[in-house]
Symmetry: C2
Subunit: 247 residues, 2 copies
DNA sequence: TTACTTAGTGTTAAATAGACGCTATGTAAA
DNA sequence: TTTACATAGCGTCTATTTAACACTAAGTAA
């Protein structure tokens, strides 16, 4: 069988774990299999699609992200490949696949990606692979189709590891944010409390933030100064590398 | 096209970066495309093969490792998936593929693995995918077929990161070894000099070594005591986790 | 006016990292 | 047999980093 260009490869897909932060919890963009799911347990999944034979894996993941959110140029990292022979073989999964794939029985290896987006920038679209999409708190997701729970957990683990090494959390926040919001973000990702004073000292020591002359308004407490992320200093820092950012 | 069981999937392969330590340098097991390679630059590659539709990715990597070295139950970790559409399309790569694959033109996504073996335990065999195999120092490998240099570099990077978090280096040493050998191993993997006294202090503090009543013999210097690795203590340590082993 | 909420700040003690030099014990070579 | 050579094995000091901990400030809401 020769593969033709412009065709979907029946054996390889990409799935995206799209993280977003609502200033309280870490959320993941989850799609619905259909609008009238009778089985609550298995009606949700990660956005994903077969890859085209003309695109590489990163491009496939970017395409999925763009179709669903409209976003391009987003922080994104491969998690791993998942290739259990039975990963899409449950009757429920098969039923869904038959409705969307020309070769629902083909063996599919999937490559998981995670990406970090600013929730406010997303405009959610239905797409070829998703009837609808919604944000769900990562800690409240208990069951997903296929092996998507495994992919989600691997992605979350990778994010936790990565954030100790690189300040990628900024991708989840708007341009202007407060140290309190950043603090909460780290607590959400690392899933534990972090002493406020120690956190501030450590993050300020990285010297990648620029303080702005603008304060929060309308909050029922002392307003916080906004800061923004200094890309120049950040880039210098990632060149030299640091591996010292754990709590 | 329905996939039949027991068949090689034409679109997905696994490639293995098999690391071995000779007490001096870190080596990688490299195969030869053919015995009379005229082009030195491209005659070498990582061992790899298409996967069977009945096996998962880890099994495919284990199978490749076993065919080549005879070893089973070896430390092994997935690196990443590599899926550039042109990754196997150079004329030289195509020529080789035509001699070994039924569908040499198929798009192939490969999943890279690295594994850590004790060189003394390996008995190298020719196999379905390799005419011959040999150990080459990781720092002396300059060009490989396909995108195998990229896979090698990613694997090496992952090993460097991993060894800071888990004492997996023991997989590269015989049961009895000396602290000097372990020291050299860390220098080889991290590719830099490490102060002997600081290294000893830090590794001993982990409390995962058992000192043996046996010394080196026939060495032209003060003989070192052998130690062995205490699996029980290691397991306890990996449960609690540690992320503090950098130099 | 009071209650409530988050912002913002410093100190201290303990652990860790990093730099550094000497003696001991074996083999090999002179 | 003496000397050269190589690695083993050990301890200290300093600087840095971590972890634990409590109060005042500045807004809004009741």
């Amino acid at each position: 069988m020769a593969q033709h260009k412009q065709e979907l490869n029946p054996n390889v897909s990409a799935d995206c774990v799209i993280f977003g932060f609502d200033f309280e919890k870490l959320n993941v963009l989850i799609i619905r299999r259909s609008t009238d799911a009778t089985n609550k347990a298995t009606r949700m999944a990660l956005p994903g699609d077969l890859i085209y034979d003309t695109e590489n894996l990163d491009m496939a993941a970017s395409r999925i992200l763009k179709e669903l959110t409209g976003l391009t140029n987003i922080f994104m990292e491969q998690v791993a490949a998942f290739g259990d022979p039975d990963r899409i073989k449950t009757p429920q999964d098969q039923k869904w696949l038959k409705s969307i794939r020309t070769q629902p029985n083909a063996r599919v290896i999937t490559v998981g990606y995670y990406s970090l987006v600013k929730m406010e920038d997303c405009s959610l679209h239905a797409s070829s692979f998703a009837k609808s999409a919604e944000w769900i708190a990562v800690n409240e997701i208990e069951e997903l189709a296929f092996d998507h729970m495994e992919i989600l957990q691997a992605a979350f683990k990778k994010l936790k590891e990565k954030i100790r090494i690189q300040p990628i959390g900024f991708n989840l926040l708007p341009e202007k944010f407060t140290l309190g919001q950043l603090h909460k973000l780290y607590e959400a990702i690392l899933d534990k409390q972090i002493d406020k004073r120690n956190f501030r000292r450590k993050i300020l020591k990285l010297d990648i933030l620029t303080s702005l002359d603008e304060k929060q308004k309308g909050v029922a407490h002392k307003p916080s100064k906004f800061v923004k992320f200094n890309e120049r200093k950040y880039n210098k820092l990632t060149e030299t590398g640091f591996d010292n950012f754990s709590f």
